[in-house]
Amino acid sequence: MEWNEIIARLFKNKLSLIGLIIIAFFLLVAILAPVIAPPADADEVYQIPRAGWTMEPQPPREGYPFGTSQGSYDIFYGMIWGTRTAFRIGFIVVGISSFIGISVGTISAYYGGLIDEIFMRITDVFMSIPFLVAAMVMTTILGKGLNNVMIALVVFGWMGTARLMRSQVLEIKNEEFVQASVALGANDGRIIFKHILANCIFPVLIQAFMRMGSMVITAAALSFLGVGAPEGYADWGQMISFARDWILGGGDSALKYWYTVIIPGSAIMLFSLSWNLLGDAFRDILDPKLQDNS
């Protein structure tokens, strides 16, 4: 199937179209961030400005359309600039870790034997360390900061892709057309790129789409445990973590601080949803067996 046809189908499918529109919207917000929410300090654009010093969240009001969160951080500013952070974490982490995973999985399955054994045991080693433990030790060593969070996410986030890729390659390795190329004496590089990768990449791609969305949530979990982005950094995960102690409201109303949860929550949800829709649509389009069925 040609790429332009894939894209045409993506636009035709109602759900994936919705996904695409949402992503386009977020992309636009990310690009226009300096216009929508002009930073006060050009050196530290990701630092959310404070509306004051009070700890208690304050509801939306003039100048602060989304209200202020715990510590008087401007929710609107955090959401707008956090869009950039979401894309940055998503693209960089998913990109690099997928690359590592694909390489490890392909090499492992293609060559088999001792190489496979060694690579898979290394994978096991990395899988044995609970992710949150690894992330905490990493940020302690490297220091707090978004880049260090991303390093931790990459270093301990490639194993799933590697395993998936390996099983895919193993399946296809013995197919006739691959064996034929081997018999014809084609070199390994050519076989891997031409035949194997081209035929195995889609499940990995679909998985990558899903992970794009879930990265923001992982970042929120890290913020919850105190190893996420630095305090006050524009990051959706942190914005929702600010709501932690206020979710249940107070005194007169359980919904007193709704804006601290609903606003960042909706953004994370829409972001995640759109990538998921896109991933699903991709699978439906690319899986030829399914098409026959429909």
Binding site: W53, G71, T139, G143, E231, I247, L248, G250
Partner: protein
């Protein structure tokens, strides 16, 4: 199903906008549950130096005397039948011997009787144990005028590390310890090296190091056996090798049932208690770090008392069945320590490390004008009102209210950007104003109060001159500790929780050259404090017995610390307590480590 559940949940949330609160009826009348955060470090009274541990020790162990109600200066007898004073003759005229008549008929919860020998054993065991970083310096300072066992071994046998003492040397050192506490019939007498006005505070209940152990039981557990020759073996143990780490045997109103670190501590009533029996059959300290969970437990009545960080108090104010007491002073302060002598080696918090606009020099804070300018660039009022929610008072030097030397009318700094500018212009002969500076203020992440303080300084100082640049950076606790030990932080946050309610306990760590915070200011400060006579004043303060004279000395020290802007003195928090309204008998005492199950009861409203 998923959909239905979500819909159900959302509608429930909407419908029940308010909580249903357990009625006026008392829930679990036989049990008292206190829910707080954190954990306990150890149960050994001589090892413990944190509030969590002391709180547990407080319920089971007893000391010779105790505080009278809310007072931190008046005492009542406890295991001693009298509180020594000059009037009753139990304190000698020169103020160096204190005699305690030991109460008879008291039993430990295992049935062993309390004897004067137990008292002596307890104190000496503590002084031998003297773990590094522990609280036992408070016994050495009055008894020997030293800061620990290693000072004593150095003096007596010339050995710096007590763990290397031979049996013979050990016996010599022990002989010195032995002389300090003597038994005469039913009386135990402490012999001080010099008068030490707060000595009774050091022995009062709440100070866990003054707890009285059962000698026989302790030896059976494997603690120091009473032999003069074995000091080396029992000095400075690892926590896990300490035989009393997880066991307790006291004379107090409660007995430890189970300790699960970080989850709960459960006590049962000591039915054999020598005083009035305790009101609750079971008492529980539960550790739950999540605020919302603690809040729900209080509202449901499953918790009788909870710890509430002040920023969340607005969430429960006005709830039915909940009582809040607040505004009483806590003997705790917070300040920002200026490093007068920054270690520039491998330091990435000070930019270029020079006065060139891109960094700060090592002696940046040695300049009085810089310190004063910083002190004027802090919004004390907003900090107290908005960050502390009004539950704090501004500091007037290291000494907190209501200790001797605290003067509520003394002069303090307030936010004044004009004055700050004036001082910045004078600093470094005007060079600083000309060139500007750049530095990083570091706080340990998770500490919101410190972050706001740093942000505040940044926002005001950067307003004064565009060439001034301050970064605020949060670092992990381990990094913070590392930088703090190495002296690379240009300014760090500090605070002190009183070990004993005496101004000496504040001026010593904050201002004396040997004090903890003087170490954070570097050699330059230590020399300065020596040269200006500040050290001598502190020494004079503790050696003086006359109250009026002491007060004058401490007032002067307070004044110097403000005039010289030695640190940025931020605030003293006031305390608060949140409990179910059915709890009666609670009162605050700032020297009590947390809860006291013995004084309370639960009565239907």
């Amino acid at each position: 199903m998923n959909k239905r559940v979500v819909v159900l949940m959302l509608s429930l949330v909407l419908v029940f906008a308010a909580f249903s609160v357990a009625g006026a009826q008392v829930k679990n009348p036989d049990t008292f549950t206190f829910v707080t955060l954190g954990d306990q470090s150890t149960l050994d009274p001589h090892f413990a130096y944190d509030t969590g541990s002391s709180e547990v020790i407080y319920q089971t162990y007893e000391s010779l005397i105790q505080y009278d109600g809310e007072s931190v200066n008046d005492f009542l007898p406890l295991l001693s039948t009298k509180v020594p004073s000059a009037e009753n003759g139990l304190i000698s005229e020169d103020g160096t011997t204190y005699t305690f008549p030991i109460r008879q008929g008291v039993e430990f919860s295992n049935g062993n009787p309390l004897t004067p020998e137990d008292v002596k054993y307890s104190i000496i065991r503590g002084m031998i144990n003297d773990r590094s970083g522990g609280p036992i310096w408070m016994l050495y300072e009055p008894l020997f005028g030293m800061s620990g066992l290693s000072d004593l071994t150095q003096k007596v046998v010339g050995v710096k590390d007590p763990k290397t003492l031979t049996a013979e040397q050990s016996a010599k050192v022990y002989a010195e310890l032995d002389k300090k506490i003597t038994i005469d019939g039913n009386n135990v007498t402490f012999h001080l090296a010099a008068p030490y006005p707060p000595f009774l505070n050091i022995l009062a209940k709440g100070a866990s190091w003054s707890s009285i152990l059962d000698k026989e039981w302790s030896i059976a557990q494997g603690a120091w056996g009473g032999s003069p020759e074995t000091i080396a073996e029992f000095h400075d143990p690892l926590k896990e090798d300490d035989p009393l780490y997880d066991k307790m045997m006291g004379t107090g109103p409660y007995i430890l049932t189970e300790w699960v670190n970080g989850e709960h501590v459960i006590f049962r009533r000591n039915d054999n208690y020598w005083g009035e029996p305790a009101p609750f059959k079971t008492a529980v300290i539960k550790n739950i770090d999540e605020w919302s969970t603690r809040k729900l437990m209080l509202l449901r009545g499953d918790a009788d008392m909870v710890f509430v960080p002040r920023q969340y108090k607005s969430q429960i104010r006005g709830e039915e069945g909940v009582t809040i007491t607040d505004g009483y002073p806590e003997l705790q302060n917070m300040n920002m320590v200026f490093n007068w002598d920054i270690n520039t080696k491998g330091n990435d918090y000070i930019g270029s490390g020079e006065l060139d606009g891109n960094g700060i020099p090592a002696n940046f804070f040695y300049d009085l004008d810089v310190r004063k300018a910083f002190s004027y660039a802090f919004n004390y009022q907003a900090y107290i009102e908005q960050v502390r929610m009004g539950e704090a008072i501004q500091l007037r030097g290291p000494i907190v209210s209501p200790l001797l030397g605290y003067d509520a009318d003394s002069e303090v700094y307030s936010l004044n950007l004009e004055k700050a500018e004036e001082h910045f212009k004078k600093a470094f002969g005007g060079e600083l104003w000309e060139k500007g500076f750049s530095m990083t203020l570091v706080y340990n992440s998770g500490n919101d109060g410190r972050k706001v303080a740093a942000d505040m300084l940044k926002s005001y100082i950067e307003q004064i001159n565009p060439k001034f640049n301050i970064d605020v950076r949060g670092v992990q606790w381990s990094t913070y500790l590392d930088a703090s030990v190495k002296g690379t932080l240009p300014a760090s946050f500090g605070g002190w929780l009183a070990d004993f309610p005496d101004p000496h306990n504040f001026v010593q760590p904050f201002l004396h050259s040997d004090g903890y915070y003087a170490g954070k200011r570097g050699q330059a400060y230590q020399d300065w404090a020596e040269e200006t006579g500040l050290n001598d004043m502190i020494a004079k303060g503790i050696a003086t017995q006359d109250k009026a004279k002491r007060e004058a000395i401490y007032k002067e020290i307070q004044q110097i610390s403000i005039d010289q802007a030695i640190d940025l003195w931020v605030d003293q928090a006031t305390g608060s307590n949140v409990r179910r309204s059915w709890v009666t008998g609670w009162y605050p005492n700032s020297m009590r480590p947390g809860v006291d199950f013995y004084i309370m009861d639960k009565v239907a409203e």
